[in-house]
C-alpha cells in the first residue's frame, strides 16, 4: 500500500525524516518496503508552453516544437509524442537535467535537427507507469516553474506491506494512528461532512438487509445534481501518487475515502436503480451480473449481493455492476458504505476469482463505525467538487449495533509472557497510546477494543500490543530454564547421517530434486499410480514421485548433456505412494546414480568404468557399514536392462534394486551405454540393523592357505562353485574368496578361469597338509562331476 507523507499530515503533525518514520513503522510491525521521493531526482525539469508544433522535415513521426520555458529564447525541441498541440503546457527537461531513470539530457541532433531539451511523459518523470504520450499539465501551470513545485512532487511515498491481521492499517488514517501511538503525538483532522441536505433520504430510497450476519450494517446517501467530470488536481494527485488511476470525480471520491479512512465505498447511478430500493440478500441460484470489469458472472446462493427491486446491482463488498455504474450522464448518485462479513466476502471473491481493493479490505475487516462518516464525507466532497446537492440523512440499516469487545488482561500474565515487570499503570499507559481504553479490575485490566481492531480478540493479542509499545528491543534476553524431554535420533535419522558421510567419502555428490515430477514420464519409472496435485505450477511439476529413479535419471541426463560424463550422484528423500482412504504413504529412499569412469582422475585406472559389480560392491559395502544382512535376487525392474540388474533382499523382503539403465531409455546420443542406478528403501533397511554382537577371539594357531585355479564352463555360476567349496570345506574352511576371473587367450571357448583363495584353520590344533588334501580332492571331484569344472 502506498501512503503519502503529505496526506498523513492531515492527521498528525509529524516532523521526522522519512527514514526515521519508515524505521519506526518497521519496528512497529508495518514493514516499509520502499521510500519513494518522486521529486528527489528531478532537477532542471520545468513547466513549458508549446508555442508551435510543426512536422520534422525528415521524419514523419517526429514533431518540431518551439517551447517557452521562461528562460529567454524559446527552446527548439524534437519530440516523438503525438498528443500535444500548440498552447499545451508540458514538463520540459532542460539541458543538464537527469531523469529518475538515470537518463541525462544533453543537446542532441535528432535526424539532423538540433533539440535543446526533452518534453516528458508521466513515466519519464517517474510519477506513474503511464506513457501514453506527454504529460499535459493544467493550463494554469506557471511557465518556467520547477516541476517539483508545480506538481507538488516534493512528497514522500511509503510503500508499506501490511500483514493480514492489520486491516485497520490499510488507510492513511490507520497509518497515522500507528504513528501517533509510536511517537506519542495527538491525532486530529479537519471537520468532517454532516448529514445536512435537502429533502429526506427516507422518502427517496429504502434499504433492506435480509442477511444480518453477512451484512450487519448498510448505509446509503443520496446526492442529486452531480456533474460527473474530471476531478480537481489535488484529488487526482493524491490518488495517482497512491497508485490509483483517476476516473471521474464520483469514483475518485469513493476511492479517496477508502484510502483516507480505509472504508471501501460504492456509487450507484440512482436513476438506474429499479424501485429506488436497495436489498442486501443472497444471490438467487441462477442469477447473473455484469461487473464493472466488463465480465459476465454467474452467482450462487452462497454469495451476498446488493440488489434493487429487480436484480443484483453489485456483488457485496467485491465489485459493483456495470448497469448501475456512474457514467458521464449520471446526475443522481447513491453512495454506499457498509460492513460485510469478512469470511463471506473472501469466499465470494475466491469463488468468482475476483479481487478488488474493496474485497481486500472487507476480508481483513473494516470499521463498522465508519459507515456514516464515510457517507457524510463523500457527500461533502461531491458537493464541493461536483456541484452535488446531498439529500438530508442516511438510510442506515444497522439492526443490531455492535458492542465493543472487552478483553481481560492479567498483569501477571503480561509480565510472564513477555519476561518483563510492568505495573498495571504502565500497561495502561502503553495501551492508551493505541487508543485502547482500559478499566482496572484489581491488578488486572479490562480492555475495550475499538471496532477497527479485528485482530484483538484474546489476551495474547493485547500482550502483543503491550510488547510492541514497550519495544521488542527493550525486552531482556534470557535462556529458558527448562530441560527438555529426551528424544534420541531414530535409527533412520542415524542411518541417513551415516550414509551421507559415507557417500561423500566415496566421491558422490548429493543432489536434491523436486518431490513432484512430470505427469508424463516413461511408465517404467512409476512404482504405483502417482498422487496428483490439484493445482500444479506446471505439468512438469504435477505428480508426486513414486520413486527417486526418475529424478536421478533426469539429473544424470542433464549433466551428461552438459558434457559431464563421469558422474557419481546420490539423493536421500521421500517417495510418495497412495494409501488407503485416498491418503498417502511416505517412504524414505536412497538413490544412487553412476555413469562413466569409476575414477577418472586415477591416471593408472582412468579407463575402468563402472559396471554391475561396482554397484553390487557399493551396496554390500553400505550393508556392511550399517550392519544389515542382505541377499541378492534376480531383478525385474523395467527401468533396467533385463539381464543386468538385481534385487536387494533383506530377509524375504525386497528392499531395493539396481542395474544398468535399459537401452530404450538412452534417448540422447551423448548418453553412454553404461549408466547405473540403484534405489534402496531405507525404512526397510532401518528395521533390519543387527546388533554388533560380541567379539570373537583372535586365532592363536596359523591358517593354511591354498589357491585353486579352476576352468569352468561359462554357464556355471560363481555361486554354484562357491557352494561346493564351502560345503566340502566344512567348519575348517575359514575364508574362501574369488580373486581372479579370466577369459580369453589360453582358455578354451565357452570357458572361463576362476581363481579362489582358500584359508583353512582349526582353532584347536595346527593343520597339516595331510588333513587338508582329502578335503581339496573331494572339492575337485565334486566340481568335476557336478559342474564339469576342472582344475587348471
Amino acid at each position: 500500500m502506498k501512503v503519502l507523507l503529505s496526506w498523513l499530515k492531515d492527521y498528525i503533525d509529524i516532523n521526522e525524516t522519512p527514514e526515521r518514520i519508515a524505521d519506526a513503522l518497521n519496528m512497529s510491525g508495518l514493514e516499509v518496503e520502499e521510500i519513494i521521493q518522486p521529486g528527489k531526482n528531478l532537477n532542471n525539469v520545468v513547466v513549458g508552453k508549446i508555442l508551435s508544433r510543426d512536422p520534422h522535415p525528415d521524419a514523419e513521426k517526429l514533431s518540431l516544437c518551439s517551447v517557452d520555458v521562461n528562460r529567454g529564447q524559446p527552446l527548439q525541441i524534437v519530440c516523438g509524442a503525438n498528443n500535444m498541440k500548440a498552447g499545451d503546457k508540458v514538463p520540459v527537461a532542460l539541458i543538464g537535467a537527469r531523469l529518475p531513470s538515470g537518463f541525462e539530457i544533453s543537446k542532441a541532433k535528432i535526424r539532423g535537427i538540433e533539440s535543446s531539451g526533452m518534453m516528458c511523459s508521466k513515466r519519464e518523470l517517474g510519477i506513474s507507469e503511464e506513457h501514453g504520450g506527454l504529460y499535459i499539465l493544467d493550463e494554469n501551470a506557471e511557465i518556467g516553474q520547477n516541476i517539483v513545485n508545480a506538481l507538488s512532487l516534493d512528497d514522500v511515498i511509503f510503500e508499506i506491506s501490511i500483514t493480514p491481521n492489520r486491516g485497520d492499517a490499510l488507510s492513511h488514517l490507520g497509518i497515522a494512528r500507528e504513528l501517533s501511538a509510536i511517537f506519542n503525538l495527538p491525532l486530529h483532522r479537519d471537520p468532517l461532512g454532516d448529514e445536512d441536505g435537502e429533502g429526506h433520504v427516507a422518502e427517496q430510497v429504502t434499504v433492506e438487509i435480509q442477511d444480518k450476519d453477512l451484512c450487519p450494517r448498510y448505509g446509503a446517501r443520496l446526492v442529486h445534481n452531480v456533474k460527473v467530470g474530471p476531478s480537481p488536481d489535488w484529488l487526482k494527485e493524491r490518488l495517482e501518487k497512491a497508485g490509483i488511476r483517476s476516473i471521474n470525480n464520483v469514483v475518485d471520491v469513493t476511492n479517496y475515502i477508502m484510502l483516507d479512512i480505509g472504508h471501501p465505498m460504492h456509487a450507484f447511478d440512482y436513476a438506474k436503480l429499479a424501485g429506488k430500493k436497495i436489498v442486501v440478500r443472497p444471490a438467487g441460484k441462477d442469477e447473473r451480473i455484469a461487473t464493472l470489469d466488463n465480465a459476465e458472472r454467474s452467482l450462487d446462493s452462497s454469495m451476498l449481493v446488493i440488489a434493487d427491486a429487480e436484480k443484483p446491482v453489485a456483488v457485496a463488498g467485491v465489485m459493483g455492476g456495470l448497469h448501475s455504474s456512474v457514467t458521464d450522464d449520471t446526475t443522481s448518485v447513491l453512495l454506499e458504505a457498509a460492513f460485510f462479513d469478512p469470511t463471506s466476502v473472501r469466499k465470494t471473491s475466491k469463488r468468482l476469482a475476483l479481487m478488488s481493493d474493496s474485497s481486500y479490505r472487507f476480508e481483513r475487516g473494516t470499521n463498522i463505525d465508519n459507515v456514516p462518516i464515510a457517507l457524510n464525507e463523500a457527500a461533502r466532497l461531491l458537493k464541493q467538487i461536483a456541484g452535488g446537492n446531498p439529500v438530508k440523512g442516511i438510510a442506515d440499516a444497522y439492526p443490531k449495533p455492535e458492542v465493543l469487545r472487552q478483553i481481560k488482561v492479567r498483569t501477571r500474565r503480561v509480565n510472564r509472557v513477555i519476561g518483563i515487570n510492568l505495573s498495571p499503570v504502565q500497561i495502561e499507559t502503553l495501551l492508551l497510546r493505541l487508543k485502547l481504553d482500559t478499566r482496572r479490575d484489581g491488578e488486572d485490566l479490562i480492555v475495550s477494543v475499538p471496532p477497527y481492531r479485528h485482530d484483538l480478540s484474546i489476551e495474547a493479542d493485547i500482550i502483543e500490543e503491550v510488547a510492541r509499545m514497550y519495544g521488542y528491543n527493550n525486552i531482556p534476553t534470557t535462556l529458558p530454564a527448562i530441560t527438555s524431554v529426551l528424544q534420541l535420533p531414530t535409527p533412520l535419522q542415524k542411518m541417513e547421517k551415516r550414509l551421507r558421510d559415507h557417500f561423500v567419502s566415496c566421491g558422490f555428490n548429493e543432489i536434491m530434486t523436486y518431490s513432484f515430477i512430470p505427469a508424463a514420464i516413461d511408465e517404467c519409472f512409476r512404482e504405483k499410480k502417482p498422487l496428483m496435485l490439484q493445482n500444479p505450477l506446471s505439468e512438469d511439476l504435477s505428480a508426486m514421485r513414486t520413486s527417486l529413479k526418475w529424478g536421478m535419471f533426469d539429473a544424470l541426463k542433464r549433466n551428461i548433456l552438459n558434457d559431464e560424463f563421469n558422474l557419481r550422484l546420490f539423493e536421500i528423500g521421500k517417495a510418495f505412494h497412495p494409501a488407503a482412504g485416498g491418503l498417502s504413504e511416505e517412504h524414505s529412499r536412497l538413490c544412487i546414480g553412476f555413469s562413466g569412469s569409476a575414477d577418472p582422475k586415477d591416471w593408472r585406472r582412468s579407463a575402468e568404468t563402472f559396471d554391475l559389480f561396482s554397484v553390487k560392491g557399493l551396496i554390500q559395502n553400505i550393508a556392511d557399514l550399517l550392519k544389515v544382512k542382505v541377499r541378492y535376487a534376480p531383478g525385474s525392474c523395467s527401468v533396467f536392462h533385463p539381464a543386468v540388474q538385481m534385487e536387494l533382499m533383506v530377509g524375504k523382503i525386497p528392499a531395493g534394486e539396481f542395474g544398468q539403465l535399459h537401452p530404450n531409455l538412452l534417448d540422447n546420443k551423448k548418453m553412454p551405454k553404461c549408466i547405473f542406478i540403484a534405489e534402496i528403501d531405507l525404512d526397510k533397511l532401518a528395521t533390519a540393523i543387527e546388533d554388533a554382537g560380541r567379539m570373537k577371539p583372535i586365532p592363536e594357531l596359523p591358517a593354511v592357505r591354498r589357491d585353486l585355479a579352476l576352468l569352468a564352463p561359462t554357464a556355471v555360476a560363481h555361486r554354484d562353485i562357491l557352494k561346493i567349496l564351502t560345503t566340502e570345506g566344512k567348519q575348517l574352511l575359514e575364508d574362501c574368496y574369488l580373486f581372479d576371473v579370466y577369459q580369453g587367450k589360453g582358455i578354451p571357448e565357452n570357458c572361463r578361469s576362476l581363481a579362489f583363495a582358500l584359508s583353512f584353520r582349526d582353532p584347536k590344533k595346527t593343520l597339516t597338509d595331510e588333513e587338508i588334501q582329502p578335503m581339496i580332492s573331494r572339492m575337485v571331484s565334486r566340481l568335476d562331476s557336478e559342474l564339469a569344472v576342472k582344475l587348471r
Binding site: G29, E31, P164, N165, R346, K347, E363, R416, V417, I418, G419, I420, I458, E459, A460, I463, E464, Y472, I475, P476, T477, T478, P480, A481, I482, S484, V485, Q487, Q493, R500, F503, V504, S505, C506, G507, N509, E510, M512, Y514, S515, F516, L531, L533, Q534, N535, P536, M544, R558, N559, N562, E564, L567, L569, G573, L583, E586, D599, K601, D602, R604
Partner: protein
C-alpha cells in the same frame, strides 16, 4: 714395525684411497687378507723363523692385519651407505604426478547449512523431530490457528493433492505432531522440505525450513530472544540484531529477527536493499489457540516457536544468486561445496 710391513701398509692405504665401490674394497680384502693375500702370505712365512723371532714377528704381522681389517670395515660401512643412498635416490618417482585416491564428493549445500544450524540447537539441548511432507489441512493450517477462508492463507500459496491433503507449506505441522506425542517441557527442532506455489530466482516451489519449539512453565519472550540471539551469534558471528513485530497466526506476539547485513556490515548494499539489515527468521510466543489444539494447559505452559528458510541462509552463506540452482543437480554447481 719393519720397513717391509710399513711399505705394505702404505701400499694398502694408497690402493684403498682409490677404491670407489664396495666391490673395490672386497678386491682389496682378497688381495691383502684373502687365503693367498699378502698379509696371509706373511703369516705363512712365520714358520721359517725361530720361536723367539716368530713371537715378535707374529705380533707385528697380526697388528698389521688388524689395522688393515678395521680400516677395510670402516671404509666398507661408509661406501655401503653411500651406495645405498645413491641406489634409493635413483628410485625417486615423479613427485609431481597427482595422487590417485578417489576424489571426495560433496554434501548438498542446503544439507550442510541445515547441519550447521541443527548442531547449534542440538548443543543447546534441543532434539530433532520430523514429519510428513504430505499433510492434512488440519496439521498445516487449522491446528496452527489458520482457519479456512482466513486471509492468512494468502501468505502461503498452497499445493493441494486430489485427496484434499496438502503439501505442507511450512514445517510447523511438526510442532503439532510433536506436541500431540509428548508432554512439556520440550525443546525441539524440525527440519524438512516445504512447498509453496511460487517460482522465480528467489522462490522455489520446494524449499527447506528449520522449525523450532520450546514449551515449558514460564517460558517468556525474553527466553525467545536469548535463545535466538545465541543461535545467530554462533551462526553469523556477533553482530547487531533486532526484533520487529510481525504476524504469524500460530504465534502471538510474533516477530521477525533481523541481523546486520553480513555483506555490507550495515552500510547498505544490494543484498539488503540498502537497509543494512537482513531478515533471518520469524518467531513468536506460541498462540494459546495452538496449545488448545494439542490439549496443553494454556495457563500452565507458555512457549515460543521460530522458523527459518535454510535455502535462503545457504544462498547468503555461499553467495548463490538463483535458488533454482540448488535443485538443478548440476555437478558444476554441487562440486563447489
Amino acid at each position: 714395525m719393519s720397513d717391509s710391513h710399513e711399505q705394505l701398509l702404505k701400499q694398502y692405504l694408497s690402493e684403498k684411497a682409490k677404491a670407489a665401490t664396495t666391490a673395490d674394497l672386497e678386491g682389496l680384502r682378497v688381495k691383502y687378507l684373502g687365503k693367498k693375500g699378502e698379509v696371509t702370505e706373511l703369516l705363512k712365512g712365520l714358520g721359517k723363523l725361530s720361536i723367539e723371532e716368530r713371537k715378535a714377528a707374529g705380533a707385528a704381522i697380526n697388528d698389521l692385519k688388524t689395522q688393515i681389517q678395521s680400516s677395510l670395515e670402516e671404509s666398507m660401512r661408509e661406501l655401503a651407505l653411500k651406495e645405498q643412498e645413491a641406489r634409493l635416490s635413483a628410485e625417486k618417482p615423479d613427485h609431481s604426478l597427482p595422487g590417485t585416491w578417489p576424489t571426495a564428493g560433496s554434501l548438498h549445500p542446503v544439507v550442510q547449512v541445515a547441519k550447521e544450524v541443527a548442531d547449534i540447537f542440538l548443543s543447546m539441548g534441543f532434539f530433532m523431530a520430523e514429519g510428513p511432507e504430505i499433510e492434512d489441512e488440519y496439521y498445516n493450517f487449522e491446528a496452527l490457528n489458520v482457519p479456512s477462508h482466513h486471509p492468512a492463507r494468502d501468505m502461503q500459496d498452497t499445493f493441494y493433492l486430489e485427496s484434499g491433503q496438502v503439501l505442507r507449506t511450512q514445517t510447523s505441522p511438526v510442532q503439532i505432531r510433536t506436541m500431540e506425542a509428548l508432554q512439556p517441557p520440550l525443546k525441539m527442532i524440525g527440519l524438512g522440505k516445504v512447498f509453496r506455489k511460487d517460482s522465480d530466482i528467489t522462490h522455489s516451489p520446494m524449499f527447506n525450513q528449520m522449525e523450532g519449539l520450546v514449551v515449558g512453565e514460564n517460558i517468556s519472550m525474553a527466553d525467545l530472544k536469548g535463545t535466538l540471539v545465541m543461535f545467530v551469534e554462533n551462526m553469523f558471528g556477533k553482530r547487531p540484531y533486532r526484533f520487529r513485530p510481525s504476524f504469524f497466526p500460530f504465534t502471538e506476539p510474533s516477530a521477525e529477527m533481523d541481523i546486520q547485513c553480513i555483506f555490507c556490515e550495515g552500510k547498505g548494499c544490494k543484498v539488503c536493499k540498502g537497509t543494512g539489515w537482513m531478515e533471518v527468521l520469524g518467531c513468536g510466543m506460541v498462540n494459546p489457540k495452538v496449545f488448545e489444539a494439542v490439549k496443553y494447559d494454556t495457563e500452565k505452559y507458555t512457549g515460543f516457536a521460530f522458523g527459518m528458510g535454510i535455502d535462503r541462509i545457504a544462498m547468503l552463506r555461499y553467495g548463490i544468486n538463483d535458488i533454482r540452482l540448488l535443485f538443478s543437480s548440476d555437478v558444476r554447481f554441487l562440486r563447489q561445496f
